[in-house]
């Protein structure tokens, strides 16, 4: 028993930290990355959504949803989310730097 305890102290388990959590916000925001790129950083023509404030993201998503601003596809996407979900998405996206 003493030997077992000794070995378990010597061989410390090494945990590597996750790159992203599994939360309701992150699960919703996963839908963004298929068009906006991993972590919201787009390599092409679709705008990058990393590095924006939550307030900006919430306002623009609601504006898309309620047809207050022009969009090609975002209006159709934004209509799939409630106010609460838009807030969760925006708050999670702000963790993308």
């Amino acid at each position: 028993m003493k030997i077992f305890a000794f070995i378990s102290i010597l061989l410390l388990p090494v945990i590597t930290q996750a790159e992203m959590p599994i939360t309701r916000g992150s699960m919703l925001a996963l839908s963004c990355t298929g068009c906006h790129g991993t972590n919201g950083k787009s390599p092409g023509a679709i705008p990058t959504i990393a590095g924006k404030s939550a307030g900006y993201l919430i306002t623009i998503m609601k504006d898309f949803r309620d047809n207050r601003i022009f969009s090609t596809v975002m209006g159709r996407q934004a209509k799939g989310y409630t106010d609460e979900e838009i807030t969760l998405i925006a708050e999670y996206l702000t963790t993308y730097k």
Binding site: S8, I9, L10, L11, L12, P13, V14, I15, T16, Q17, A18, E19, M20, P21, I22, T23, R24, M27, L28, L30, S31, T33, G34, C35, H36, G37, T38, K41, S42, P43, G44, A45, I46, T72, V73, R76, Q77, K79, G80, Y81, E85
Partner: protein
Amino acid sequence: MNPFSRRQFIKLVGAVGALSSLSACQFGEEKVIEGRVVIVGGGFGGATCAKYIRRFNPNIEVTLIERDAKFITCPFSNMVLAGLYGIDWITHEYTALRDKYSVKIIQDTVIDIEPIAKKVLLKGGKSVHYDRLVMSPGIDFQWDAIEGYTESISHQIPHAWKAGAQTLLLRDQLQAMKDGGVVIIAPPRNPFRCPPGPYERAGLIAHYLKQHKPKSKILILDAKDTFSKQALFTQGWADLYPGMIEWVEGSFGGHITGVDAKTNTLYNSDKEAYKGDVINIIPPQKAGLIAHKVGLVNEDGWCPINQRTFESQKHADIHVIGDACIGSKMPKSGFAANSQAKVCAAAIVTSLDGTEMPEPSYVNTCYSLIGPDYGISVAAVYRFTEQGIMKIKASGGVSPQNAHADFRRKEAHYAIGWYMSITNDIFDSFS
């Protein structure tokens, strides 16, 4: 849910170790493995799932088994057919998955799976053990559906519905065709991979022909009476290629039942003949063959799953994602496979952690190009309900009819942006 999960226990042990001021460097370290996941198939579904499992929990060992050294996407392969892109542009590497996300890549073919012993058997002779298995085998063809159309005939009359050599074969045939020739495209009945794909193909081939062989025609002999984004495609064909594309619906003789490869002639059930200079038969489809061998399919040839976790209804601890699974209202698209793969990754990670997965959300956006500057799209947001994956009613829909040319140009621009982003989200391409 376990009140005290294995992961939490290991974290506590780690914390106690740190408090004792013992460093791993001094005494050696044991890399914690919180589960072994094996993924079969490195396409839109499988490769995404591998990356996201590692991002959610890097202490889970992920092995990706893929037959080919590189992945060539079906999305944008119609642009290659039209000569607008080279095949290299749609070819992606597993380098980032291997080096950045530490996914073990095995290039081999899966010959069988033992669901009780939890083992994947490889053609090379090895076997790989799993705690959870993800199957993302894509599609195979129902070779008995069209008389005379066999796998060996497909090397003469391409399907080009798996990108790569088949794409190049069809492209080369189009380039060799004389001006004034007839190109026939024969799309299958539902369900099949990429519902708007055959019609995008017609438009982009027309774009090529209009510039190089303007007297040529395209005939679409369809097994169906309606198709995806039909009104938009029809409008786009009329705008860009008036009189060049003719579509024959299934009920009016379009449903092809036989082919004579010697004379390049297709036949419908009334024995009416259609002769083409270049023929593209897209046969009816089913889940990838390995899913059949393992017994993951239903009587229709597709894999029934729990649509919240993507776990097979046929075997425990096996998940099926992408084109092979029955994703309810989601189409068989690369985008849907990417979305499903992330939900499946979260389901597996939380299951191995002994925690609850939050409510999943799914999405799909399919861009189609009718010409290089003429894009259209269909989109939807989905949630899991008692009826399975259902579209949020208010969400989605298709691009507006009669939109200004600038709107179509913007969507074409975003289609290319989407391709770069999604392959970035899977393979870290274009980064």
